[in-house]
Symmetry: none
Subunit: 263 residues, 2 copies
Amino acid sequence: MTCLLKMRAMRDQMSVNERKLAEFILENTKLLRDYSSQQLADVVGVSQSSVVKFSQKLGYKGYPSLKLAVYETYAEAARAQSGHGEGEGGFFRPDNPLSKLGQKKLEVLENTAGINEAEHLAAAIAAIRGARCIQVSACSGSVAVAKYLTYQLLELGCWAVFVEGSQVQQRIAGSLGGEDLLCIICDFGGEESLVEVANHAREQGVKVLSLTRYNYNAASIHSDIRLFVVPADEDEQMQRLLFRSGQLHLVEGLVSGLLSQEA
Amino acid sequence: MTCLLKMRAMRDQMSVNERKLAEFILENTKLLRDYSSQQLADVVGVSQSSVVKFSQKLGYKGYPSLKLAVYETYAEAARAQSGHGEGEGGFFRPDNPLSKLGQKKLEVLENTAGINEAEHLAAAIAAIRGARCIQVSACSGSVAVAKYLTYQLLELGCWAVFVEGSQVQQRIAGSLGGEDLLCIICDFGGEESLVEVANHAREQGVKVLSLTRYNYNAASIHSDIRLFVVPADEDEQMQRLLFRSGQLHLVEGLVSGLLSQEA
DNA sequence: GCTCTGATTGAATAATGTATTCTTGTGCCA
DNA sequence: TGGCACAAGAATACATTATTCAATCAGAGC
């Protein structure tokens, strides 16, 4: 998983200084090459130790590791950029709203592909295949996606139900057992009731698959298999729309996996 | 000139230790990433100061500079190695199934953006905004998309219903009037009953918006506003999956349009 | 409101890493 | 043999990075 993505995704859950650092690095990625931890600290206006701690919090051994990782993903990103800049990979007509939307979706799709390990996707597919019954639950913003997933699963011959309303969710979850799967889908907030359902289910040995916002999302930590979408950098409404695109991409990934295993 | 080449070229004019260092770096380029000057010195069997002097002799400010330069050219070489010049489309991990899927989706998205005129999309958005009630009907393969659209419309405050079953579709359509909109969604076949519903509705002055397969699709010719998806060139199952992606892209285009006009 | 707890921050400092200086040893030539 | 040039490493100065610790702040519970 690329470290710039990680930063973007975690921005919401960061402290003030950490966010300042993340913003700066995202804005001035290439400058980092020649910055020492002290220089970066001065430019951003924090202490040197904060820079080091920031690096460690993101999972690196220290500042040099972060720097290298950033540099790596920057090079990678620059390469990708040049790809759809001129190559046939791009949407040519920026006047067309569908193209503009597609442009933005592309980024989300790439991020989604980048953040989810192939093994996790495979595990999710296996869990779906192996499940007797699948309960799909969602927070209010993801109901549409949940319905979409549920219907697709039904078409594939999986015994899936989408349950609305937290009381009913609890009730139904109570009837699930070790052979079953609970799939929770969540975007921004509203996950509290889902967490309860998930915990309840897990106590009965039900496997839990989550499809949530990266990174810390209460619903995801109570899951056996976690899939993520990274929110885009847009105004709220568009962010939600794009987020659903990412979710749908994951759903399509699952469906495609189920299809190929069927053959 | 890249620093690895420089080293290779100068090998003859180097002292024993310098040559040892050059050889090692050329042989173990990628290892350098995690070596400090001391570690490199130990591995090669020279002193740490020799490493620094070697770096400076090659024209770098010091060991860290050399390290970065080596790393850069290594990455460059690796990229060239991995082939096809630049990563088309931007998904750089072809081993990741989500990326592979994204690659294919991208094509569909582009085609979809290319085939639908901006005015038609705008007209569709206007029609949705202007409608009192919206009936969504779909062929069997597009039910999931229809449900998705319906839910999104409801979230936006549009009075939308998805009607399943051709008799009921007819019945409900009968109650629509001039201020209403019928939205028919169709992919491959199964459109006969939809055509009937559409005709029936139009007789009563209902506007009809269609979202179908390009090009000739019986359902589309009986519509006022036509949006299209171009099927991809894949095996049947994947084709259906990708087709739904295209449909969803259109749906997202509609939603995004409705959102922006709302503001 | 108040206190407690845990998180965040930066100053000081320890630990590590890098560059320079200085000394030694070797080979070469007059 | 003395003088010189140069390579090499030890010692050390300098720079960067990591950790510790105390002060401060934010939220939870009373």
